[in-house]
Structures are given as C-alpha cells and as structure tokens.
Point group: C2
Chain length 212, copies 2
Amino acid sequence: MSVMWMSELSQRSGVPVPTVKFYLREKLLQSGVATGATRAVYDESHVDRLRLIRALVDVGGMSLDRVRAVIAAVDDTGRDLHEVLASAHEELSPVPEREPSAESRDRVARLVRTRRWKVTPQGRHSEALAAALDTLEEAGQGLPDDALTTYADAAALVAKGEVGSMSGASREGAATYAVLGTVLAEPVLLTLRRLAHENLSSRRFGRASARS
Amino acid sequence: MSVMWMSELSQRSGVPVPTVKFYLREKLLQSGVATGATRAVYDESHVDRLRLIRALVDVGGMSLDRVRAVIAAVDDTGRDLHEVLASAHEELSPVPEREPSAESRDRVARLVRTRRWKVTPQGRHSEALAAALDTLEEAGQGLPDDALTTYADAAALVAKGEVGSMSGASREGAATYAVLGTVLAEPVLLTLRRLAHENLSSRRFGRASARS
C-alpha cells in the first residue's frame, strides 16, 4: 500500500490541509504513522475516511456530533453493516414541521406491515412519509391507495439495485455511498419522472405528436 | 350551478379577498357576473382557477408572467392538453447551475432514444438530468447504466399512474394536478425510497434482524 504526505492526502481527498488537521485533532480522522517528530504518512484508509466525512457534512448536512456518531458506528466492528448504514441514513429525511396526522401514520404503518418491511416503527423516514401524505391531502391532492402502492413498488425497485451495489464495499465505502448515492441521485429520479411525464402526456394528450 | 359572493369565493379557495381582487385586475381570474354596479357573483370555475393560480405560485414557485402563460395555455382551446401540461411543468425542473457535460447530455439523449420517449430534445428536464448525472460523477458515485435503466423504469412506472389519473380531469384540474402532484408527491417517493433502503439493508446486512 502506497503512503503519502499530508499535502498529497489533502489533494487526493479535496480537503484543505487546515481542515484535515482539524479532523485529526477532533479524532474524526485516524492518525497517520509518525515518521519523525512532526511528520506522518497517510494511506488510502485516510482518503476514504475524509471522503466519508465530507459526504456526511457537505451532502448529508450533518453536524460534527452526528458525523462522530456515524464514524463510531463504522469503526465499531461489533455493529453490523445495517447499523452503520442506518446511522448514516438517519438524518437524511427531514424532520416534519409538525406532527403527522393519526390517519397518515396509520396508513404508513399499514403499508409497512403489508409489505413486511423491516423498518423502525414511527422512525424518521416513516414520520416524514406520513407528513408528506398530509401535505398532499391538504392541497386537495390526496394520494389514493393504488398510487401509494405504485410509488412503493417504484421505491422498492430503485432501492434493490442500490442496496445490492453496497454488498461488495467496505464499511466506510458503503456508508459514503449510502449518503452520496441517496442524496445526489434524488434529482436523477425526479427529473426522470418529469421526462416520463412529458413523454406520456405527449402520447396521450398531444394532437401535434399524433401526426409525427 | 350555485353562485357565491366574493367573500365565499375567498373562503372556498383559501385566497384572501385583496389577493382575489388583485388577480381580477391582472385578468388572471376571469370576471364574475355583475349583479349591480359594484357586486358580482362567482362560481366553481373561479374556485378552480384560484386553486390553479395558488398551485403555480406557492408550490411551483412561478412568477406572475409565468402564471399568465400557463393560464393562457389553459384558456386557449386551440392548444391541446399536452401543451397545457408542458406549460405547467416547464419551470418545475431546476435550471442547472452550469452547463452539463457533453458526455452526460449524450447519455440522456441515448436513454430518451432507446426508450422512444417523446420529449423536447435538450429541454429543461433533460438538461437537469444531465447535470444531476455530472454531480454524481464528480462525487465519485457515477451511476452505472443498469442503475440509470432501473431509475428510468421506476420513473416510468410512477408517471404512468399519474398521467393516467389526469385523463378525466378538466384542463384546469389537470394543470393544477400537474404542478401539485409533481411537486408535493416528491417527498413521498423519496421517503419511500429510504424506507425501502432501510428494509433491504436490515435484511441483507443486519445480524440482529436475522434473529427476529
């Protein structure tokens, strides 16, 4: 395994040297191997750790305390990969601005039960989903059950591919991917939905397109 | 068809009276039927129009000029429903902060061609998609082709149900739904994806869950 100085570590990870030093002091980044009184060398594991920290901070929008908790989960080999991923995912769903209605909570609980999804009951994602259902309801666009089922099917389809691709990764790599892949891929999914809308609307409702 | 005074129109639509008057002056809202020198009555068509305006402004984040363009499309029966929906959808995708790479644009064009999607070439949604692919690439999380295919399948699945449910609606109702359904349902799709992740990760990587 090749080693590198601080300057190369900074370059490789895209994290400025003062910030790398800050992470070292905060013990978020493991120490390098000392090669003298004031110098140390680093390796790929440091690059990976810095990428994870940046993903959690920049993309996940997490506080340093939260970052510390995720890294503790990565480092504690007594915790399984699912716990690591759950920890990295925890803050990615918004906290609902107010409490979801009992109806929407029931609806989410029913969906989870019907699909036998193994998820934290009334966890952060469930609560955010219930709140999103309330918002639609209040806008007079309540989601019928079959539409919710279709959404759940689509979500399961997407998640299957995503979680599958984590299997081969290191704990650190999987946690990084869990944050980056989840957040950064969202616009891909949402813009594809708009393109698919445009296509179907054009085919179903477009007179001009029927001629072409 | 029952008629109503301004006060009831305001109450039914949730739009304050001064704002209703502003929309009347701006000719975004059609006039009521005059019942005297200073009074007029309104009907359901006014409630629907106000709901559309509020959807475009509050949820779609559109300028008044843009709202005027959508309403012109709704009112111009020479334009088919697809044009109305495309107009309502137009600004819902973010304008990429910088130009997408040629590679990502090609990738989007290829996807559209392979699926025979009838969409505006290099339209707003395509550009936003290409930019989102660039962002993933730069974060070292480039989306493989099979993952993009899975996302497109999921998007097509979701859009099919959504566009189908517009068939029976009025032009105004369909435009309102196009904006509200598209924007407000996004958190539903995204939180379901997280729940599906949690479930799969728990099943594949969770030791504790294997015991239960």
